[in-house]
């Protein structure tokens, strides 16, 4: 019985092997007990291995071949695909497009931080503003794409608003690479700002209110409150947002694909990979591209974990 009470106070799993002072359980019961966790894990592990690890392994294997994805024959080409990726400039250019989204995500984080700070203080219609800022994040990506196609269209929403303000333009917003990418990155800010904002707001509100009161009494300004109370409180969430932004900027797909299909220099890395694999049947080359992207994302994650050590990582 002492065994049980000790276990109850300390979270040790009940199926831990019984102490040697206990009479050994019958063989069948013991095997069954050892098997129990695996019965629960069979399905999850099978799915995990089939749809996450097997693809990674296959992808790495394909990346060294010239496979077209359908024919039974494939040739080993060594690092040929990787050299092609790095030397054919048009395959590499897509990374510059990520730059637009990277800049956009900086804007996004700064704006989210601003609105989260503002709305953490007492503001009228706070819940309304909170809801408005967050709602775009929940909207279907295709619907967002169409909404903004109409927005940027010739004589569409943006042009009409500008005319209302007295600025007559016939600028084709999605017409040149710079303008198109900037517009698309803007849509991305519109769509994803809400998530950053809500995360920041949650972090700020988890700071105990007395801290602000104490600071107020000591005569701290709003900026000082932000600098010394809010900023340290949101550091982990900020780190998370940065890494989500970087990997998000590298793997942009939906908005440019729906709105421009990758035309006028808006092709991103993922659009290119999808086209290589499913339109041009270059599974080998596409796999190499995907491996490169995966490595970059993992490297970014690793760097972020080193800079902002996150105690939540050790889950068990």
């Amino acid at each position: 019985m002492t065994d049980t009470t000790r276990k109850a106070t300390r979270p040790a799993p009940p199926a831990a092997p019984a102490g040697p002072e206990r009479a050994p359980a019958p063989r069948t019961a013991r095997t069954r007990r050892r098997l129990t966790p695996w019965l629960f894990l069979i399905a999850p592990l099978a799915l995990l291995l089939t749809f996450t690890y097997a693809p990674i392994a296959n992808m790495v294997a394909y990346s060294f071949t010239d496979w077209d994805g359908v024919s039974p024959e494939l040739n080993y080409t060594g690092t040929g695909n990787y050299t092609e990726l790095l030397t054919r400039s048009e395959l590499f250019e897509v990374f510059f497009v990520s730059g637009y989204y990277l800049v956009a995500s900086v804007v996004q984080i700064v704006l989210a931080l601003y609105f989260a700070t503002v709305l953490s203080f007492n503001v009228r219609f706070r819940n309304f503003f909170k809801g408005v800022l967050f709602f775009p994040y929940l909207i279907n990506g295709v619907a967002i794409g169409f909404v903004f196609l109409y927005f940027f269209q010739d004589g569409g929403t943006l042009d009409s608003v500008l005319r209302l303000l007295g600025a007559e333009t016939d600028h084709a917003w999605l017409g040149t690479p710079f303008s198109a990418n900037t517009s698309l990155a803007g849509v991305s800010v519109w769509r994803y700002l809400g998530l950053n904002f809500v995360l920041f707001l949650g972090a700020i509100q988890s700071v105990p209110g007395e801290l602000y009161e104490a600071a107020e009494i000591d005569g701290a300004s709003r900026w000082q409150q932000f600098r010394h109370i809010i900023a340290p409180g949101i550091r982990p969430v900020l780190g998370l947002s940065v890494i989500l932004s970087v990997s998000g900027s590298l793997s942009v797909f939906e908005i440019p694909y729906i709105m421009t299909g990758g035309a006028t220099g808006t092709e991103t890395f993922v659009i290119q990979t999808v086209k290589l694999a499913f339109q041009f049947n270059k599974t080998g080359l596409a796999s190499a591209a995907a491996v490169v992207l995966l490595l970059i994302v993992l490297a970014v994650t690793w760097v972020q974990r080193r800079i902002v050590p996150d105690e939540k990582v050790d889950l068990v």
Partner: protein, 276 residues
């Protein structure tokens, strides 16, 4: 004092501006969805109000010709099966990992942990071949299996939550003669309700909005989910912005209703989901 007033005014100004930026594109699309094609052709401007604010003709067109009914049906099937499966998979994994000591436990945990770092979009090239070899390509099973099998975030949510359930409850049930499965079903699963609610919301919204997976795996027109069906509006309705707008509003409306009713749960859910 005046400085504070000015600062306050600026804050409200920025909030109103942000509200306009968010709501204007959506409002214009809603207005457009109520206009007739003649109104659109006359070029009354994007901001003009529709002549007949009760003109729902475009919605009928979008719903009928755009196959939105079957799209909502397919989405519902995928949603229910995938979310149900995710709940089972996630809670079983969390139960096994948290409540049992077994060999290779650390390895299993590491497998799930590392998988969370792999962005799904990068591996689709090879995932496609696997899905194809199972004969699931161009069937509803492809998205269902992928949504169920690659969701690590829900496992984290369950794991986090299951730790707050006292082990003494398990033990009490075990003393009453319950086996591991009965403990899972009668003790753990009912107590996981808040975590289940979180997963239903986060996962449900993600599945409803996902475009990439149905687009890659279900090219057949009659297998369209709302994302892909709406995407197909681009072809036949080309320049008919009133119909496309109606389709977009049809897709956004359910999200808006769910959001208005479940606001608090949605904020909490996404916070828990994102910070793991």
């Amino acid at each position: 004092m005046t400085r504070r007033t000015v600062a306050r005014a600026l804050v409200y100004l920025s909030l109103v501006l942000a509200t306009l930026v968010v709501l204007l594109p959506l409002t214009v699309v809603f207005l457009t969805s109520l206009k007739s094609s003649e109104e659109m052709a006359n070029g009354s401007g994007a901001l003009a109000l529709p002549d007949d604010p009760l003109n729902f003709g475009n919605y009928v067109t979008a719903f009928r010709d755009g196959q939105m009914l079957s799209a909502f049906g397919n989405t519902a099937v995928v949603l229910v099966v995938a979310v149900g499966g995710t709940i089972l998979i996630g809670s079983m994994t969390a139960y096994a990992i948290d409540r049992f000591h077994f060999r290779f436990r650390k390895l299993v945990v590491a497998l799930f942990l590392v998988a969370a770092l792999v962005p799904g979009v990068t591996t689709q090239v090879a995932t496609f071949q696997i899905v194809n070899s199972f004969g699931m390509f161009d069937s509803l099973w492809a998205p269902i299996a992928l949504y169920m099998g690659t969701d690590i975030v829900s496992i984290y949510i369950f794991l986090q939550f299951i730790r707050s359930i006292p082990i003494s409850l398990d033990e009490a049930a075990r003393l009453d003669g319950a086996g591991a499965f009965t403990v899972y079903r009668k003790v753990i699963l009912p107590l996981l309700k808040p975590a289940i609610a979180t997963v239903v919301i986060v996962k449900g919204i993600n599945v409803y909005n996902d475009f990439y997976i149905p687009f890659l795996y279900m090219p057949s027109e009659d297998l369209g989910v709302i994302s892909t069906s709406l995407f197909r509006f681009k072809g036949p309705f080309g320049a008919h912005w009133e119909t496309i707008s109606a389709g977009a509003v049809l897709v956004i409306l359910p999200t808006l209703i769910v959001f208005l009713f479940l606001q608090r749960f949605i904020y909490n859910g996404f916070m828990r989901g994102a910070t793991k």
